[in-house]
């Protein structure tokens, strides 16, 4: 039996491994931001009010490079555009919730909370059973845990960055890469999904030089298009060929 409380804690438990991966990343952000010249108060405020790891990271780098506020805000917008895709894919599952729910869910939407929430919603769809009426508590449980953790890590990073000037070069940021690998690999269960991922990865490499991380959005759209075309037009042909082979055998 699902209750509000059990859903909240299940969301917390589901995001724990992702939090483990985000810890080094958050610490690095805090350390880099203060060594690049952002004040400790502003470094913490950015985590509290912007709450977007990749964008905060890039902002810290841009501040160090002497970029102006306008450019940094524009870059933040482009880097965070992917959340529109996340929001679109979650929207059908949160429909009917009041604004008092949608506002915090929107503010706390991250790569990690999205990954955990969409996995839960997809599992509900596949099981076909009547979904729990409290599953938005699962989403918020995951999202709040991520937020609190991000604040703690930022604080640690600010202290570390003020103490050890070279802490930004320790390589801890690689934790984000291996975390995302751990999310993506289990998702690749069909050939269209494999095609989508390979396409997105290749385009991301080819277009990495584009300004403001525009290559990221281009790669995402290319990957989605590849997956959609493979699933809609090519996969039925694969299945037809398989059926013919089966029939020939019998």
């Amino acid at each position: 039996m699902h209750t509000r409380r059990s859903e909240f804690f299940d969301g917390f438990k589901a995001i724990l491994p992702l939090i483990a991966g985000a810890i080094p990343f958050g610490i690095i952000y805090g350390a880099i931001a203060v060594t690049q010249g952002l004040s400790p108060a502003a470094t913490i405020a950015m985590s509290l009010f912007v709450f977007a790891g990749a964008a905060q990271f890039i902002a810290a780098g841009l501040i160090g490079a002497g970029a102006g506020a306008g450019l940094i805000i524009f870059t933040t917008f482009i880097v965070n555009l992917r959340h529109i895709l996340y929001a679109a894919s979650l929207a059908p599952y949160v429909r009917g919730l009041p604004a008092a729910w949608l506002l915090p869910l929107g503010f706390w939407l991250t790569d990690e909370s999205y990954a955990v929430a969409i996995k839960r919603y997809n599992a509900d769809d596949e099981s076909g059973a009547e979904p729990s009426p409290y599953r938005h508590w699962f989403f918020i449980g995951a999202a709040v845990s991520m937020y609190i953790n991000w604040q703690i890590c930022t604080l640690i990073g600010v202290v570390a960055g003020s103490t050890f000037e070279d802490s930004a070069n320790w390589g801890l940021d690689f934790a984000m890469v291996v975390t995302f690998i751990g999310i993506v690999v289990p998702l690749v269960v069909t050939r269209p999904m494999l095609g989508a991922v390979l396409t997105a990865g290749t385009v991301a490499l080819l277009l990495d030089g584009l300004p403001h991380k525009l290559g990221l959005m281009a790669a995402a759209f290319a990957g989605i298009a590849a997956g959609y075309v493979l699933e809609t037009y090519i996969a039925p042909q694969w299945r037809a060929r398989q059926n013919i082979r089966k029939r020939l055998k019998t």
């Binding site: 491994p17 483990a20 952002l38 502003a42 405020a45 009010f49 912007v50 902002a59 501040i63 102006g68 506020a69 805000i73 933040t76 917008f77 965070n80 555009l81 959340h83 529109i84 895709l85 996340y86 929001a87 679109a88 894919s89 929207a91 429909r95 506002l103 869910l105 929107g106 503010f107 790569d111 990954a115 390589g171 690689f174 934790a175 890469v177 291996v178 975390t179 995302f180 690998i181 751990g182 999310i183 993506v184 998702l187 690749v188 999904m193 989508a196 991922v197 997105a200 990865g201 991301a204 490499l205 030089g209 990221l216 790669a219 995402a220 990957g223 989605i224 298009a225 997956g227 959609y228």
Partner: protein, 105 residues
Amino acid sequence: MNEWVLISGMAIVTFSVRYPVLAILGRLDLPPALTRALKYVPAVVLTAIIMPEILLHGGTLDVAPTNPRLIGALVAGVIAWRTRDLLWTIGGGMAAFFAWRLLFG
């Protein structure tokens, strides 16, 4: 630069890509073709974020076996594929990455 102008601006643009679509699209019935396409979002976005981190070094492709990020990613990939366990994936990938950095860094 005024830090507080910067943070306010970043907070506004970030919220503007997170909340409105969540609130507005939730009221509409999405066409099945769009739902089918959106299914690819998590895997492709995360892949597009990490591929340049793994393989590009100062803008050029680094596929040498001495690249610690490549080895760390490969080890993480194999662990994720065999175990589907996130913590083992993170631990194993980071261990391989740091070992390679010590050896070749």
